[in-house]
Symmetry: C2
Subunit: 203 residues, 2 copies
């Protein structure tokens, strides 16, 4: 049994070596420009070994992406679970997004850039995670509308897209100018909330 454990553990280690290399390279060069050979080399295995642990390149990339985003959703759900106030919920939602992106900035630098292009046709991503996240965000916004925090004139789905794109845009901008790393990404969450709720107008 201890043998089986070691075997399994070694297997997991190898898998995780490869995942780590893949994450690093995808982050560095994006999906299209990262080859299986690259990943094998960086993780110091042979090309074929990668296929002992992952079905194919898509599996590797989308598995990674989905894993990360599922994690984000679970964090958000957990943190907002007990909160009743819609505005506070929104605040937490934005903040946790930013904290997560900041923590995983290497990976998301490219993922956010590649944006929707890749996802447009990948079954997994389209069906599984995305819908869940969207569903959660929409329900949160609807709640805010019911509580009178958000104007009911707006379509919640559209609002969800807009909020998501603002977060994405601000994150990308932050990532690109991280030389002057004066401010942390999460420190921008107030700005985003304010912009989303009250707009850019001068009072």
């Amino acid at each position: 049994m201890s043998v089986l454990n070691r075997k399994e553990r070694d297997r997991q280690l190898r898998r995780s070596d490869i995942l780590k290399a893949a994450e690093h390279l995808f982050a560095l060069k994006g999906y299209h420009k990262t080859t299986i050979r690259d990943i094998a080399k960086e993780s110091q295995y042979a090309t074929g070994t990668v296929y002992l642990h992952f079905k194919n390149k898509d599996d590797l990339y989308f598995g990674l992406l989905e894993e990360k985003l599922e994690h984000l959703l679970s964090i958000i759900k957990e943190k907002t679970g007990q909160v009743k106030d819609a505005k506070e919920k929104l605040e937490i939602y934005i903040r946790e997004d930013l904290i997560f992106f900041e923590k995983n900035q290497d990976f998301f630098q490219i993922s956010l850039l590649e944006g929707s292009e890749l996802y447009a046709e990948r079954r997994i991503f389209k069906s599984l995670f995305r819908l869940q996240m969207l569903e959660y965000t929409i329900s949160m916004l609807k709640e805010a509308q019911e509580q009178g925090v958000i104007n009911s004139g707006f379509d919640p789905e559209k609002l969800s897209d807009v909020l998501g794109s603002i977060i994405k845009t601000v994150t990308l901008k932050w990532l690109q100018e991280k030389e002057r790393k004066a401010e942390s990404l999460v420190s921008l969450s107030d700005t985003i909330l304010r912009l989303f709720l009250y707009g850019a107008a001068n009072k």
Copy 2:
């Protein structure tokens, strides 16, 4: 001379045949999945002929993109040229963007999706057009701040990104649900302006 003209005209016709096919295919399948063979076939020429008119694939794609966006910028500049009021300017800016995207929806369906991924490293796009558009938008927003229409607390560059991303998001959403084509894209410009200026909050 009339001979020379016919020659040149035929040449332009061929060039435009190819451009048209390219536009159609890029719109349909995106940059990566459109091959020179595809373009040649659709425009009913041989593969090599494409290279008689365009240096390479990049040249074709980015030429097309840049041409379109330069056109958009020129329209915006023209329409806002005589307008003094910052809010009205902003209104026109948004409206003309939407009109343009609606008019060129085939092309932008994919271009917007592919988003920044491709551009990240292409010299031309990075330097030439993008900066001009950004510059114009920023100056417009600064003017709005000076006129007291927009809160000076926000960084104009960030605002420009956010506004751009809202327009992009709403456009993409509209493109994707164009079955229920009840509303035109341009009819959404009020919503965008309102959202951008006053936010989603309930008054």
